[in-house]
Symmetry: D3
Subunit: 312 residues, 6 copies
Amino acid sequence: MNLTVFTGSANPALADAVAKRLGLEAGRLILKRFLDTELNVQLHDSVRGHDVYLIQPTSPPVDQHLMELLFMADACRRAGAARITAVIPYFGYARQDRRASGREAVGGRIVADLIKSAGIERVVAIDLHTTSLEGFFATTLEHLTALSVLTQAVQPHLSPDSVILSPDLGGVKLAERYALMLQRPLAVVHKIRISGEEVQVRGIVGDVRGRSAVVVDDMISTGGTIEAAVQAFLAGGGAPEIVVVASHGLLVGPAGERLRGLPIKALFVTDSVSVPKNLSLPIERVSIAPLLAEAITRLHNNQSMSDLIAHR
Amino acid sequence: MNLTVFTGSANPALADAVAKRLGLEAGRLILKRFLDTELNVQLHDSVRGHDVYLIQPTSPPVDQHLMELLFMADACRRAGAARITAVIPYFGYARQDRRASGREAVGGRIVADLIKSAGIERVVAIDLHTTSLEGFFATTLEHLTALSVLTQAVQPHLSPDSVILSPDLGGVKLAERYALMLQRPLAVVHKIRISGEEVQVRGIVGDVRGRSAVVVDDMISTGGTIEAAVQAFLAGGGAPEIVVVASHGLLVGPAGERLRGLPIKALFVTDSVSVPKNLSLPIERVSIAPLLAEAITRLHNNQSMSDLIAHR
Amino acid sequence: MNLTVFTGSANPALADAVAKRLGLEAGRLILKRFLDTELNVQLHDSVRGHDVYLIQPTSPPVDQHLMELLFMADACRRAGAARITAVIPYFGYARQDRRASGREAVGGRIVADLIKSAGIERVVAIDLHTTSLEGFFATTLEHLTALSVLTQAVQPHLSPDSVILSPDLGGVKLAERYALMLQRPLAVVHKIRISGEEVQVRGIVGDVRGRSAVVVDDMISTGGTIEAAVQAFLAGGGAPEIVVVASHGLLVGPAGERLRGLPIKALFVTDSVSVPKNLSLPIERVSIAPLLAEAITRLHNNQSMSDLIAHR
Amino acid sequence: MNLTVFTGSANPALADAVAKRLGLEAGRLILKRFLDTELNVQLHDSVRGHDVYLIQPTSPPVDQHLMELLFMADACRRAGAARITAVIPYFGYARQDRRASGREAVGGRIVADLIKSAGIERVVAIDLHTTSLEGFFATTLEHLTALSVLTQAVQPHLSPDSVILSPDLGGVKLAERYALMLQRPLAVVHKIRISGEEVQVRGIVGDVRGRSAVVVDDMISTGGTIEAAVQAFLAGGGAPEIVVVASHGLLVGPAGERLRGLPIKALFVTDSVSVPKNLSLPIERVSIAPLLAEAITRLHNNQSMSDLIAHR
Amino acid sequence: MNLTVFTGSANPALADAVAKRLGLEAGRLILKRFLDTELNVQLHDSVRGHDVYLIQPTSPPVDQHLMELLFMADACRRAGAARITAVIPYFGYARQDRRASGREAVGGRIVADLIKSAGIERVVAIDLHTTSLEGFFATTLEHLTALSVLTQAVQPHLSPDSVILSPDLGGVKLAERYALMLQRPLAVVHKIRISGEEVQVRGIVGDVRGRSAVVVDDMISTGGTIEAAVQAFLAGGGAPEIVVVASHGLLVGPAGERLRGLPIKALFVTDSVSVPKNLSLPIERVSIAPLLAEAITRLHNNQSMSDLIAHR
Amino acid sequence: MNLTVFTGSANPALADAVAKRLGLEAGRLILKRFLDTELNVQLHDSVRGHDVYLIQPTSPPVDQHLMELLFMADACRRAGAARITAVIPYFGYARQDRRASGREAVGGRIVADLIKSAGIERVVAIDLHTTSLEGFFATTLEHLTALSVLTQAVQPHLSPDSVILSPDLGGVKLAERYALMLQRPLAVVHKIRISGEEVQVRGIVGDVRGRSAVVVDDMISTGGTIEAAVQAFLAGGGAPEIVVVASHGLLVGPAGERLRGLPIKALFVTDSVSVPKNLSLPIERVSIAPLLAEAITRLHNNQSMSDLIAHR
């Protein structure tokens, strides 16, 4: 069974890097947007009987990137692909895992259903915001983690006195894993939700006085969570020497401005999503292309994925 | 069973007009886009046990408008709506009804599947580009037509000598219906497809010399089809007095510029989609709000829809 | 994976020809009708793990032939076939692609659903009446065309002055392809639908005076369309030297009588359906067995189908 | 919710009788067969929001009658019927409940799947050959019995010395119910299957010498089973005074000839299927129209069906 | 539409209390276990057209209670119930929301699929261990909370100096809600997972010295979590005056022994599951029957559920 | 494709015997029951791309064994197994094939649906109580028979004068097959159902006076049917020398006591289910491991199964 990799428009650089690792070129296809914004997808090469991997993070603009993924899958299915796997390094709408405050849509489940409805048989994702998203799918969601590659990259930048700082209680499990892998103590920012939108920082759990921090999170969106955590850390007596680590660096809206105002020495993110340019931030991009290439190789060759899987 | 109407962001003015006709206000809901472009939908009022109608053309930007529709449906479904009907006055991706040139996605079917997957039980659409789209749905697609309201609006503007002009052979069935309803002769622009994209006008079938024209089509997107038809008409000796009629006036990209260059006296479209502003075109918008209100009333009250249905 | 071909009772001669081309014999099975008309299907040979192709046009009597196809598929599925492809050279009910005049069934979609429900994973069809039937299926419908083999067969019979004549506006796209392949000018019979059933010929578009004609259509059922077209052609000054070409020659009911009354020199059809005998018509049957054998070979070996696909 | 009854072409007399009982007229629809045998179904009246009952035995010719049922259901579904119930007084293919001898299709399950695929939500059937057919459906199959009406009709014709005779071991459960209701002793013809098709009568279990017989079965198809039973009965010393009772009198093929050769005083069947004419048999038709009307009334009004249900 | 409530064997006392609140008696049915452990379910009364609520926590023994629920649903569905809602006060397998450590089954999703497959259209649950379980269902899961009734019951037992104690970081969101409703400060036991099974207490976050505690959790299974939390609390200088509050008191295995060894003044749980007897614990059972009765009333009457829903 | 065999807890000895025959060891997995009875399944080895066979009779306790099967299937599916076959030597709930007496659940269909919902693609079963269970599945149920191995084992124990005795009319078809294979005459116990539960023996059909008997049935549950048959046999003058043969020896409840009271010389059953110990019965267990190993080998290698299939 031939192996073919396609990329949508969300992160072609990553897809190309993955393909190169696999000794391939990304399959040729045309993703055309008509002037009325309708999408047209045409595959250039035959995929009949192929094992196809569609690499597409559903990063902003999320709806277009998601729809591209569905159209690519439909084109592959109708062209006779033997198996279609979506590789979604960043999985949009993962935070919508339940109706948090009333009569809401559950975005994560909608996306899971659309993916299934387009003929995608399995999904590869990295460091999902909600781990139980796995249960939103009837079949396989391979939930990989970038922690190994991120901690390897961060290691040389660690001060001897640094603590791992989780920016909220929800992130403690992830922070614990960083603490274990980097062999550093753990601290947590304690926040409390006052009302729907309003959150109040109550202080920091753990010993941070005079220490530097490695703030860890699964993703950085507008930078608000990181900003509040760093401010709490400094208010708690922490030293103004911060390293930030996150799997997904969306860095949308005010993120650049917010983070530039903080004493951040280095900001480690993967290349799961395309990076906005000109942010004037000390961004260190760690590539997950080797990880994805390894995962695709194993899936294609029916080898065990266990040691690549995120366990939390 | 209570009747509730919701609108997405695609055409709230139309939805409000429909609701007003029904003696209602459109249901309150929040359609929020986060800075990372993710959508969040929350219904303000209870819809438990209600008969819900979601009014949303999937006009440009088509992916966002489609996704809004799916999120609204999911929110209604989870909130206990008894029945969910999507009213899609303009149905995007309707032209993708088959693989025209090889390994393509069939967009029309993808959309049909997504709609079903979100719990929408039936669809109301108006003057679909592809009539056989009905078979893309396992259940009901009510295919209405705006021809009655459009021909009523056009009637007073007809010159005694005008012909109904179909801009291509594919539009002849529609033009015949206009010709019948307006009691005017019919002419057709004969084009031939040279290759994938290239089309050549061969001439005009029918007597147009010295006459004025009513050019009819189901939709106007970039205006290219209308422009070519008018040019062929004039080249064939037609008089420079043109009325254009179409159900859907998307008018994207170069449409304004193209049409401003033609001797168009009046351009009749419905309000199925929001109109771009400042086009400096003699646009006459004919409202389909009464038609949609009537359709919703009958669907809600289980009355026959037969005389509203498009038959081609 | 072994390749097995079965035939129902609709066109065993074609299936045998296809099998022979493939270097096989058609698989042995028993299709028994009990005296109460119930069907019983038993496969003689094992198909466990086989790649099975069921060759069965759904020609008249359409319901029995369709049901045979479903029973064969069910027997294969339960006997462990790895993949089941229906090869339906003539696809009955293809004209029922929408509700044309009210509260109708959409036969084309019903058939698509039945085919899916019986475990058939993909369909091969030839020159479908409705091209958008492809969207009636969630997965693959390979829409092949017999135009190459038909035009090759017709070529030697062409007079130097002949025109390609489309019997109605709906058939113009097909006629254009014939005109392009045979390098002949195009003419069209212009008909208009007066009411539900009644159609009136308005004349002929294109230059036919003194010329001979090649009348082309996708199928000939009762011969009425051809008869009207030839009469219009003659009335328009065409020469009484007609060649008729169609992919599917059902030739039911009054077809024989109607066509015998016309100056038809030759009538080219494929062997997609069994031919009624003793029609006393100058029928030239062009075999699609090589085309189907080629398609099956490629599908079985996962090769590209692109150049066999009908593009309209 | 309005109640509407439609009939296919299989047994309009029964449907009319049921409708009359319900104080209705059968809904108007057009069931057209084109010359190429394709079916077209159009409903004359609106069924939007109606509770629809489609009365159609799948008697010979079984495929056409089944397809009519599916087309009627699709037309009702697309026209907005609230609920569609198929009333199938005689259920064809009910004997194909498993693969009896190898690589066969399981006709009963195919039919169940087709019925579901056409949007029919529940089925009413009478005296099914295979009682476990109920499990072939995911939802409700209401399995009614005509035993009450049949035994009431037979009662006056019973000789004081008659025995209830089951023509084979498979029919003993049914015969026991007749014996109980008619308060008569039971006898059974003991047959043994020698090979696939060949069956040998071994004798009669029970005391039949000098007695007359009431031979009971669920259906009479070609009459072979009844003929063999009567011959065994006479060979066993039974008196040549036979009454035959069966729910379904298909009476196909040689049935007339076979039964005319036997000393049958009366042959009781219901009107579940249309009766072939001119059989010269002493047929007494017992109408199930009241039973079906009662069942429809209860289903429509949500009343208990328990005492109408067949329990075996 | 009639309202009917059935109970399985898991918690008939609760179901009876709910029914009584609703002014009904629980519907009569037979839940029989044969000697070979097979279950047989028969409904005594007609449910045709009824709105049915099946009250059954999937408490231990979880498989039997789950299977009872599925059989009850199937019996209702086949008997013509109009709508089937499962009221599952305690939802077993809710902790299996993902593959935590490799090649595991995702129990929560399996259960969701089984529930759907049995024809249950919506589910009511209380204080789920995993809130995102909602996304495991395509349709509605109404996630209610017992916090109001529990805090009302606990209020009079609160010492002026008591703190709300979350036994681990995962429970902080729940504890925050208790703290807010009871207007008490919050403390958290900080544990860290050493390996798969092994967990180490690191200390307590928050001021507990000399204070009494209200330990809160969603459920108490074997009592191990509570025991560790209380020990940490005492080790941290807390006063030996403990109140424990949890929505679900399974109290299996060593729970009785463990909790009896602790200075627990009162143990508040709801009656979501049947209570083991003779535990010699100061259990205060707070009934959720009024809550469930209110929820059923609203669902049945199509009223808003918003203020009953758990928001976390 | 690798072949892997897993066993649940129902009959690991059989699974090991099958695996050994196949030259394999059963795959390693952990089936853990928590103290709250919840099941956790973890596979030890990779099954990615494997052809997996799950050997698990759904013998008592049926619900737990069934749930284990579903969890194993889900774990395999999520771990990337290529194909999952359930080998269910004894199929619980097979007797619930219809609603026998009113508003019941149809257990057989529920189980079929659960099996499908867990991703199991095909099922292998042995000597099902209801042969038409095959139609409860949309895809393949391979219905094997242990008659060959049982008759081979019984042959040496046959007295020259023994008759094959069917304990009721429902078992005659099975008994006929035994009679044919063992070349012995046939006798049948004639029972009649008085009411729901009550059954009355009417006598024995066939010549049994002075003969010994081989009582045959598909399964022995509580032994009641066998006991009644032997008593009738003795009352009819049969000799007190009985051999009992059945495919499945559940032997639950009073079975031991009942059978010990009868003059049973030998009791032949297969090892389809685990045998209760210390029954003090002359049980001869005939292994179906070779049969299952042969079936798995053929399924895995895509060879014909025909001669292993049960035909009744």
